[in-house]
Amino acid sequence: MEDVTRAVEAILFASEEPLSVEAIEGHVGENLAVEGAVKEALGALAEHYEGRGIELVERGGRWHFQTAPDLSHHLRREREEPRRLSRAATETLAIIAYHEPVTRAEIEAIRGVQISKGTLDVLMEAEWVRTAGRRETPGRPLQYATTREFLTHFGLGSRRNLPGIDDLKAAGLLDPLDEEALQLELESDETLASEDEED
């Protein structure tokens, strides 16, 4: 087994969080981490662990080891699901993931109902959602997007791996909401005004 591969294996094992190739290279050190060596080692390791009890996965450009999904019944501890999401939170998370970056008004337009502040808070606290700058339109509303932790948690290599995203895109269901769609909104002017206050 090559030295660099051993080092990468140990580093990923010891790490408390997923690591980018650059971070791994930093730990491997210049002597071993010659051009492309870490990437090669990652490929070799991923292949080696395939079918074993542990697997090496890449999520949003960062790598980590995790147990194989089919072994969950051996590992599931007698404790609650890490985070039980409400329906509102689940839908909001899906809307952000499939449409990002997306404003709160857009989320509300899709759901046809206002979202409470708490819903976004839950998603931000879970570190699955982050603010993503302001939209350069009148009112400069805040935008939301998903995080790398979101990809890690839901086992997604990248946003392209979101279930069914290609089909939804093809069906035009992820197109930006046009002005008219927003006009069809059920929200009165009052709700818009109260939103402004919040910001």
Partner: protein, 250 residues
């Protein structure tokens, strides 16, 4: 969804009770009604859907259920849409009722798609539920070490500074030609013998190219004149402020 269309139950008083908590807003209710038609959302009859929604709102009113304003606004809009769809076509109408119906259908499809996507996300192999990361990672440490920087010039300048700061300060006054008061008294007294008329004080000063020495002579001679005047050996006069001071033997 598996939610009952009308989550109704007989309450103790035997009154019909509608549970609106099951629907998060009118769009949610509409989607629920649409799904109840058990057809593909693209095939859904918007007219049927509108009628079901209006019937629901009607029923809610009958049982004096307080409906959120959102539901009523949607009911009004749908009633308008229904009339447009039923009336003979008005070619001027923009957007056409068909287009409005299509947009409503697309909104329902969009919400349905997101609801489905959310369910699929939650069903994935999630970290901490289905797959697990290392339980007791050793952890990676990043040790920051200061690489101290200083140049030779900094070093020498610092030493120079210390030395300059702490060297015992010796104040040297260079030799300077001065005329002492004694000399001046002596000189003025001698000169008075020659000058019997009023004479300016400056005329008593020795000729010199050294302006500092001249200043010293002037100051000393002035003091000498005052001293001699005090002794009654000399008279002083000045016509106005800053004009020449003149002296004469008393």
């Amino acid at each position: 969804m598996g939610e009952p269309l009308f989550a109704s139950e007989r309450s103790r008083e035997g009154q019909l009770h509608l549970d609106l908590d099951g629907w998060e807003g009118p769009l949610d209710l509409l989607l629920s009604l649409a799904r109840n038609q058990k057809v593909d959302l693209t095939q859904i009859s918007i007219l049927d859907l509108v009628e079901q929604y209006l019937a629901f709102v009607e029923k809610a009113k009958e049982v004096k259920l307080e409906l959120a304003a959102d539901y009523l606004v949607m009911a009004a809009w749908l009633a308008y849409l229904k009339s447009c769809l039923l009336l003979p076509k008005d070619p001027e109408a923009d957007p056409s009722p068909e287009e409005l119906a299509l947009r409503l259908q697309q909104r329902l499809m969009r919400l349905d798609a997101m609801r489905d996507a959310g369910a699929r996300l939650l069903a994935r192999d999630r970290v901490g539920r289905d797959v697990f990361v290392r339980g007791a990672p050793e952890g990676l440490k990043l040790i920051r070490r200061a690489a101290w920087q200083s140049s030779a010039f900094d070093l020498y300048a610092a030493y120079g500074r210390v030395r300059a700061r702490t060297q015992p300060a010796v104040h040297m006054v260079h030799d300077r030609r001065v005329m002492t008061l004694e000399d001046a008294i002596h000189r003025v007294q001698q000169m008075l013998g020659i000058a019997v008329e009023w004479t300016t004080l400056e005329a008593f000063l020795p000729a010199t190219d050294d302006p500092a020495f001249r200043k010293s002579c002037l100051a000393s001679s002035f003091l000498a004149a005052l001293e001699l005047a005090r002794q009654g050996k000399l008279a002083l006069e000045q016509e106005e402020a800053f004009s020449d001071i003149r002296v004469k033997a008393a």
